[in-house]
């Protein structure tokens, strides 16, 4: 992965009303990766970030909103998004992949993140860190480490 050409930093409360700010910044950053239009890449990055921010707003800070820091790195061939929070942590691999044939109505967020991003790393701590990377040419090297 090339050195980041652009870094976008956001910091605000984990209120779902702010989620569109994250998604607009993420979508704009995704469009800067590579050459030409790649709408599927953009859509998948936005979908993953949407679920990641939901998780923080709903699960990391279930009672009162807390601080979230978001770092978006634009590389020549990839985008990396880091979300840092001081709320409740979780284990990325605790939740098994959903049985899609049973048409689940919940428990899909982490599956969407892992499926759409090439590399997903979660490190619980102070702060909790979720790092998601997607390359313009996807490679099946998804990884989850704690």
């Amino acid at each position: 992965m090339q050195r980041a050409s652009t870094v976008i930093l956001l910091r605000f409360q984990s209120d779902l009303r702010y989620r569109n700010l994250v998604l607009r910044a993420t979508q704009a950053a995704a469009k800067l990766v590579g050459q030409g239009d790649h709408p599927v890449f953009d859509d998948e990055v936005v979908a993953a970030c949407s679920e990641a921010f939901n998780n923080i707003a709903v699960h990391a800070y279930p009672e009162t909103p807390g601080e979230v820091e978001i770092q978006i790195e634009v590389h020549e061939d990839a985008v990396t998004i880091r979300m840092l929070d001081h709320g409740r942590s979780y284990e990325l691999d605790d939740q098994p992949d959903p049985d899609l044939e049973s048409l689940p109505e919940s428990g899909l967020g982490i599956f969407i993140i892992k499926s759409f991003m090439d590399q997903v790393i979660y490190r619980p701590g102070a702060p909790n860190l979720l790092e998601m990377t997607k390359r313009i040419v996807s490679r099946p090297e998804q990884a989850a480490t704690v």
Binding site: L16, R17, R19, L23, P39, V40, D43, E44, V46, A47, S50, E51, N54, A57, V58, L100, E101, L103, P104, E105, S106, L108, G109, I112, S115, F116
Partner: protein, 100 residues
């Protein structure tokens, strides 16, 4: 998010959803889905041609509606999904369920 309910012939109902169906807006549309299923429509069509973004919360609401309509022997169709919503439906293999 904005929605429009259109009553058709022979118990068919179309719901057009515009904008975003997500963790914020899903609470606005669940009551509509509840009212809709109480009427036991013969056919429900979701028109998602103006839906810009959906998340897992929105997908959950649509799947719940699908299950309830089908359990009452109604037909259920989704049409017009594109972009990010279509990517989500394909990932979750709902494009086959909804015949997209």
């Amino acid at each position: 998010m904005k929605y429009t309910l259109i009553d058709g012939e022979n118990g068919a109902v179309t719901v057009r959803i515009e904008g975003q169906l997500d963790a914020i807006t899903v609470s606005d549309i669940r009551p509509l889905f509840d009212q809709l299923t109480e009427r036991r429509p013969r056919m429900v069509t979701l028109d998602l041609s103006a839906l810009r973004l959906i998340d897992s919360s929105g997908v959950g609401a649509i799947v719940s509606l699908f299950k309830r309509v089908r359990s009452d022997n109604g037909d259920f169709h989704v049409r017009g999904a594109s972009g990010q919503p279509l990517a989500i439906f394909k990932l979750l293999r709902l494009d086959r369920v909804f015949s997209l």
